[in-house]
Symmetry: C2
């Protein structure tokens, strides 16, 4: 079975899309999806309504529509389309209104927007990205005591994407420090990191996966060989254990999962 | 009015948190929130249930609980708590089941997880982050034809965070190119960018905001002066217009909004 699905919002539509994906993934349906952000005018809404209606007329099957729109006028246009419309936020607001015993105030709220009230938080997030870039891959060891998290690991185990995600999504200043093949003869924890032990978080990965990732970068190199990968990982894991550094095997985890696990372990609160 | 709110998930809880925030922001309630990711065991669920019950007993007010948990056993424990529980995904699944006429398959799905089926997409996303870092701030002009988007703008107008967000969230290879104060005497579009015009996207920003951001970095410098900011922005805006480069004023837009607008303008599809 195939269905056309629309994710529509007056903002970025990121929330509508993520939630809609989660819902649709529970059904054995082939999804042909369209994401339509910034639907902020009557004209644009009418265009979309016509588009939904045209698909219904042509296919005889109602498109599914997941939407989140604040303005009642614009929302009503979408709801009047022939699509099967689901308001992702309102479906939760209605029962909550009953529980709280107060009416929702239809105040402009943009989940992924910039408002005077969240500007300083936003600036902190940009500052965290700056910090993280400046402290990527051990580039700078200065001001390391300002890091909220310091990721350790061998080359290509996921340090950089995780650090950037921590900064981008949660505004966390994340530094990362690489252990290279040159370090392996006598692997020690750099003295500068010792006093920061409660912010250290080690990454490891299965040697087979690491070797595959490194092959992409440098085919048939010693760097990418399974033997080298196995040796480097054994060394760093021994180091983590010796210094009681908490660590995670990233093989089956996404950047989001690694970031959230790290925050749990280091006791970092989401902003 | 103050309420305790829980965001609970067997995954990262990012979706529960984002949607829960959107819902709660519609009510004039002071929220004291806790995000509990990776609730994957009966023991952990029972702990949380006790915690919810304790808050209810102590305060006499039911905590609000937004949750998304796949396992029926674990889900039921949370539902049996004294919290006001809202299943963020199921509340949309039920009506959809009726519309589609098929039962949902309770297959393990992790929105922000790594599965064999999305591994290649995930690798592409990591490759996009690598590409974007290698092409940040004009560091490398090699392989620029592999960029899906090239952001232009003066220092501190939002190029780097937006490029990284495009790569991180949407797997888009985004390069960015800075115009510096040295370029201003004779501002031209670099020859290497001319054949790539359909991938260029200009950023601009209000001089007052740019000056404030630059002050944070270099206080009382010429670089941060309002006069310098005004001059640089006037020059780049003239360049954008001359070459018909689409551009956006980022002053009141978040990184998410800039990224989504850029994708709309350049016709890039979300992955």
């Amino acid at each position: 079975m195939e269905r056309t699905v629309f994710y529509i919002s007056d903002g970025t539509a990121i929330t509508a899309e993520v939630l809609g994906h989660a819902v649709m993934s529970q059904f054995p349906v082939i999804v042909n999806s369209f994401t339509l952000p910034f639907v902020e005018s009557i004209e644009r809404a009418n265009e979309i309504r016509l588009r939904i209606d045209a698909i219904y007329l042509e296919s005889g099957v109602r498109p599914l529509v997941f939407y989140s729109i604040l303005s009642p006028e614009i929302r009503d246009i979408i709801k009047q389309s022939s699509g099967f419309c689901q308001d992702i936020v309102q479906s939760l607001v209605a029962p909550l209104q009953h529980e709280l015993g107060i009416a929702p105030s239809p105040e402009a709220h943009r989940t992924h927007g910039l408002t005077p009230s969240n500007l300083s938080k936003y600036d902190a997030r940009i500052a965290a990205i700056d910090y993280t870039l400046a402290h990527d891959d051990g580039i700078s060891m200065r001001n390391l005591d300002q890091a909220q998290a310091i990721l350790l690991g061998v080359s290509r185990c996921g340090k950089t994407p995780t650090s950037l995600y921590l900064a981008m999504q949660f505004g966390i200043r994340a530094a990362n420090y690489p252990f290279t093949s040159d370090d392996m003869d006598n692997l020690v924890l750099p003295p500068v990191l010792k006093p920061l032990q409660n912010r250290l978080f080690g990454l490891t990965i299965d040697p087979e996966r690491l070797s595959a990732i490194r092959q992409e970068r440098m085919e048939n190199s010693r760097y990418a060989s399974i033997r080298q990968c196995r040796m480097e990982l054994a060394e760093v894991e021994a180091l983590y254990r010796k210094h009681n550094i908490q660590y995670l095997n990233t093989t089956n985890h996404s950047v989001e999962e690694i970031a959230v696990k790290l925050m749990e372990v280091l006791g970092l609160r989401r902003q």
